[in-house]
Amino acid sequence: MDQQVNMYRKMLAAAVSSILLEHGFDTVEKECLGTLTEMIQAFISEVGNQSKNYCELSGRSEPLIADVVLGFVDMGFNFNSLDSYVKSGKHSVLPTLQTQQPQKQLSMLPAGTKQPLPSHIPQHLPQFPDPHAYVRTPTHKQPIIDYESVREKAAIQKKDIEKALTKFLAKTSPTHNLFDTDESNIFPLIACKPAYPPYLSALLPPGSDFRSRGLGL
C-alpha cells in the first residue's frame, strides 16, 4: 500500500514537472517540486472533500458538477478561465498508468500425475504435491532369514574370506611355483617358512599339556 501511495505521488510529481517544463523552466529545486506536489495533492483532496460535503448536504451520494463548482468557489479558485487554459496550448500527456502484472510463478518440474483431493477434504484447499513427495515405495527386497539359506550364506562368506586371504598372502609374501616353469605364475602357493632347526618344535613340549601332566606326576 505504501508503495502504491509513493507511486501516485511520483505521478503527481511528474505532472508538476511537465507543467513547469511547459512554462519554460528547465530545472527545479527538489524542495520546490516537493512543495508543488504537496500543494497539488492538497488541492485535489480538498476539492474532493468540499464537493463531497456539498453533495451530502443536498442529500445525494453521487457528486454532480454543481457540487464541484461549489467546492471550487469555497477554495477561492477561479474556474472561468479553465476553458481558455485547456484551449491555450497543447498540454503534455503523461503515459497512462499500467497495472502491475503479477509475477508469473515458475512451474517446477512436474513429475507424475497429481492425485485429486479425496471427498472429505474441501476442494478449496491446496492440491496435493507431486506424488513422489509423499508416496512411499519399498526400494529393496526383504532379507531371507530361514535357517538353510543363512547357513549357506555364512558358508559362502567364510569360503570367500579364506580365498581372499590366501590370494592376499600369495600376492604379498614369497610364493612357491607349482610348475617348474618361470614364465607362468598361474598357481602361486604360499611359501612355507621352515623354522630352524626344524626338529625343535617336535622336541619342545606343548606348554599347557606339560604343566597339567607335570602337576599330575
Partner: protein, 127 residues
C-alpha cells in the same frame, strides 16, 4: 486578481455553473496531464466517489491550472530577478541571458505563492 474574480462572479451569479457544464461536455475525449487514475485515487481518499470520468478530468485540469498559475508567477519572478542581477553585473553577460536556463528555486516560489495568499514555511529537516 481576487477583485476581478469577485466582479466576474457578481456579474453572472445565475449562470455560475453554466459555462462549466458546457465545458464539461468537451472533456469527453480530453486527457489532462495528471492521469485520471491518480486524481481518482486522491479524490477517493477524501471520500469523493466520482462516477463521471469528466468530473475527474475537470478537477485534474483545475489542479493543473492552479499549479500552472503559480508556475507562471514564479517564472516572472525568476525572469525579473535574473534581469536585475544581470543589469547589476557588467554588460558582458548579455550573451548569456539569451539562452538562459531557468531554474525554479524557493526564492522565486515563495513570493509567487505569497501572491496567492499562501505562506510556506519549511521545517529545516525537510528533504
Amino acid at each position: 486578481m481576487m477583485n476581478q474574480d469577485e466582479k466576474m462572479i457578481e456579474e453572472q451569479p445565475l449562470t455560475l455553473g453554466q459555462p462549466l457544464s458546457d465545458f464539461l461536455l468537451q472533456l469527453e475525449d480530453y486527457t489532462p496531464t495528471i492521469p485520471d487514475a491518480v486524481t481518482t485515487y486522491y479524490l477517493r481518499s477524501s471520500g469523493f466517489e466520482p462516477r463521471d470520468p469528466r468530473l475527474v478530468r475537470l478537477i485534474s485540469i483545475a489542479a493543473q491550472k492552479f499549479i500552472s498559475d503559480i508556475a507562471n508567477d514564479a517564472l516572472q519572478h525568476c525572469k525579473m530577478r535574473s534581469t536585475n542581477s544581470s543589469s547589476h553585473s557588467n554588460s558582458k553577460s548579455k550573451q548569456g541571458t539569451k539562452d538562459r536556463r531557468y531554474c525554479l528555486t524557493m526564492e522565486d516560489l515563495t513570493p509567487a505563492l505569497a501572491e496567492f495568499g499562501i505562506t510556506i514555511k519549511k521545517p529545516h529537516y525537510y528533504v
